[in-house]
C-alpha cells in the first residue's frame, strides 16, 4: 500500500519539478527544485488522487517538504 502511494507521490513531484528526486527525505522545497506555490499542486493532487480532504489546520510547514512526509500525511488521513 505504502509503495503504491510513494510511487504516485514521486511521479507527481517529479512531473512538477521536471527532475528526479534524489531520495524520499530530500527537501523538495530546497532551492532550484520546487517553489512554495507548488504546495498547492501537491495539496490538490493529494485530495484528488487519494480522495482525502486536506484541512488547512492539518498542515504545518514541514508536512509537505519531502516524499516520506507527504506519504505519512496521506496514510494518516486514509487511516482516519
Amino acid at each position: 500500500m505504502r509503495e503504491t502511494i510513494v510511487a504516485k507521490v514521486v511521479q507527481e513531484i517529479e512531473n512538477l519539478a521536471g527532475k528526479k528526486i534524489p531520495d524520499p527525505d530530500y527537501n523538495i522545497f530546497s532551492l532550484g527544485f520546487l517553489d512554495s506555490l507548488n504546495a498547492i499542486h501537491i495539496i490538490i493532487f493529494m485530495e484528488k488522487e487519494f480522495d482525502i480532504h486536506v484541512n488547512p489546520f492539518d498542515l504545518s510547514i514541514d508536512v509537505l517538504n519531502s516524499v516520506n512526509k507527504i506519504v505519512d500525511f496521506i496514510e494518516s488521513k486514509i487511516n482516519q
Partner: protein, 451 residues
C-alpha cells in the same frame, strides 16, 4: 531620506536573519557602507544595476548601497531567478555575489530611460511580459513609514517565506527596520529548526495564504498567539481568517491590499474578530483614494510614475486607475477582483484568456489539440485554482506539465487537467464558449480528468 532612515536605530539588536546567519542593525549599516565605498570608487551613477541575488542578507545591503549611490536599480523577478526566457533580459549581465567581489555592469537597456535614483520593480507578468514599474527610490521609504505609523504593531520577531526581491518583502523589511523588529527570512524548512535555540514569545507571520495556512499547526502546537500580516493574499478565503481568529483569540490579522505601483501597501484591514473579514479596510492616511465606477483610484506621495515594457518607457500621470474593482454596500467596501479577466490564484494575478492563449500555443507541439480552455475554479483555501480543459484526444498529463513548465511560472501551471470531446463543448447563444457551463461540467464530474 535614506541616510536619515539608516541612522535611526544603529545598535546590536538583530534586524535580518536567514538560515543560520544573523545581521544586527549595526552589521547592516556597516555592510551598506562597505558596499557604498566600493561603488563610489568604481562606478558612475548613470549606470543601471540589476541585482541578481536571493539571499536577503546580501540583497538588502546591496540595495541600500545602490540607493545611497543614487544609482538606477532593477529588481530581479521570479522569471529571471527561475531562468525563464524573457528577451527583455537577454543582455543583462550584472551579477552580485557575496564573496567580496561584487561585480556590476551597466545595463544599456534601461540606463537611457531612467533618472538617477530610479528603481524598477516588475509586475508578476500575468499578461505575459512583466511590466517594469518605475519609482523614485524614496517611494519605498515613504510607503513603509506610512504603513508603520498606521499599523502601530508592537516590536517583535517575524517570519516570512517571501523572496527578498518581491515588493511585499521589501516593504516588510523596511517596516521592520523602522519598527526596530526582527525579520526572519526562511526557505521551506521546518519552523522548529529555524527556532531551534529559542522560540520567540510572539511570532508574527508575514506572507501569502499558503504560508499562513501551512504555519497554523506549528503556531498552535507551541501555544503562540501570532500576529498575522498577510502581504499578498488579499483574496484569502474568509473561512480561513475566521478559523484562525477563533483559535487564537489574541491574534490581530492584518489583511493587506498592496500594489507595486504604490511601492507597498494601500489598504489595511485590521481584523480582531470574525466581522467584516472581506472588507478592503482603511487606506493609508496620506493616500487619496476614490472609487470611480467601482474601480480603486489612487493618488499618493509614493505613487510610481512610469512603466517600462520592453525598451519603451511610458509616463503615467496621477491619479492612478488600479484596475481593481470594489463592491460598496452601506459602510462596507469589499474587493471583488479585477476589471479585466484576471483572477487571483493564491495571491498571484493570472489573466485567464492570455494564459489560455499561451498554453494552447505551447501545446500545439502535441498532436491533435483542437482547443484548450483555462478556467478558474473557486477553492476554499486558495481563492482560485486553475483547470485546463483540452479538446481532442486523451493526453498524458506528465507530458503536458513538462511542456508547460518550460514556458509558464509556477502559479500559472494548471492544477487540474480534463479532456472534453469536441461535440461536448458548450456554447452560449452568441456562439462563444460557455465557460460557466464548462465549470459546471467539471463540478458534476462530466469531464474526464487526467491523473
Amino acid at each position: 531620506m535614506i541616510e536619515k532612515i539608516l541612522n535611526i536605530s544603529i545598535d546590536n539588536t538583530p534586524f535580518l536573519k536567514y538560515r543560520n546567519d544573523v545581521m544586527t542593525r549595526r552589521d547592516f549599516v556597516s555592510e551598506v557602507e562597505r558596499i557604498y565605498s566600493s561603488l563610489r570608487k568604481q562606478y558612475q551613477c548613470s549606470e543601471t544595476v540589476y541585482i541578481a541575488e536571493e539571499n536577503p542578507l546580501h540583497f538588502y545591503p546591496i540595495l541600500f548601497a545602490l540607493w545611497l549611490s543614487d544609482m538606477k536599480v532593477v529588481f530581479p523577478t521570479k522569471f529571471t531567478i527561475l531562468k525563464k526566457s524573457i528577451p527583455l533580459y537577454a543582455s543583462q549581465i550584472a551579477t552580485l555575489q557575496n564573496n567580496n567581489l561584487i561585480n556590476f555592469a551597466a545595463n544599456t537597456h534601461y540606463s537611457p530611460l531612467l533618472f538617477d535614483g530610479d528603481t524598477v520593480v516588475f509586475s508578476s507578468g500575468s499578461t505575459g511580459i512583466p511590466k517594469g514599474i518605475v519609482h523614485d527610490k524614496n517611494s519605498f521609504f515613504l510607503n513603509a513609514k506610512s504603513t508603520t505609523n498606521f499599523l502601530k504593531a508592537p516590536r517583535g520577531e517575524s517570519l516570512t517565506f517571501l523572496k527578498p526581491y518581491l515588493v511585499s518583502a521589501l516593504s516588510h523589511t523596511l517596516v521592520h527596520w523602522l519598527n526596530r523588529s526582527t525579520l526572519h527570512f526562511a526557505d521551506y524548512e521546518k519552523i522548529s529548526e529555524i527556532f531551534c535555540s529559542s522560540l520567540p514569545k510572539r511570532l508574527n507571520l508575514v506572507g501569502s495564504p499558503i504560508h499562513i495556512i501551512s504555519s497554523i499547526k506549528f503556531m498552535e502546537a507551541h501555544g503562540l498567539a501570532p500576529y498575522y500580516f498577510l502581504s499578498s493574499g488579499d483574496m484569502i478565503a474568509d473561512g480561513i481568517v475566521d478559523r484562525i481568529l477563533q483559535k487564537f483569540s489574541q491574534t490581530v490579522f492584518y489583511k493587506v491590499y498592496g500594489l507595486a505601483e504604490v511601492a507597498g501597501r494601500l489598504f489595511i484591514n485590521t481584523i480582531t474578530k470574525s466581522e467584516h473579514i472581506s472588507d478592503i479596510g482603511m487606506h493609508l492616511p496620506d493616500a487619496e483614494v476614490s472609487f470611480f465606477n467601482e474601480e480603486v483610484v489612487v493618488e499618493a506621495p509614493y505613487l510610481f510614475y512610469g512603466y517600462i515594457r520592453g525598451q519603451k518607457y511610458k509616463k503615467i500621470s496621477s491619479p492612478f486607475y488600479t484596475g481593481d474593482k470594489v463592491l460598496q454596500t452601506g459602510s462596507r467596501t469589499i474587493l471583488v477582483g479585477r476589471k479585466n479577466d484576471e483572477v487571483k490564484v493564491a495571491g498571484n494575478k493570472v489573466s485567464l484568456k492570455f494564459l489560455e492563449n499561451r498554453i494552447v500555443t505551447t501545446l500545439k507541439q502535441l498532436d491533435d489539440i483542437e482547443a484548450g480552455f483555462v478556467l478558474a475554479i473557486a477553492h476554499p483555501y486558495f481563492g482560485n485554482i486553475l483547470a485546463l480543459v483540452l479538446a481532442g484526444k486523451t493526453y498524458d498529463k506528465k507530458s503536458l506539465v513538462k511542456l508547460l513548465k518550460k514556458e509558464l511560472a509556477t502559479h500559472e501551471i494548471p492544477h487540474l487537467f480534463y479532456t472534453i470531446s469536441p461535440d461536448q463543448i458548450p456554447y452560449t447563444q452568441s456562439m462563444k464558449i460557455d465557460r460557466s457551463a464548462l465549470c459546471n461540467m467539471i463540478e458534476r464530474g462530466e469531464l474526464k480528468e487526467l491523473i
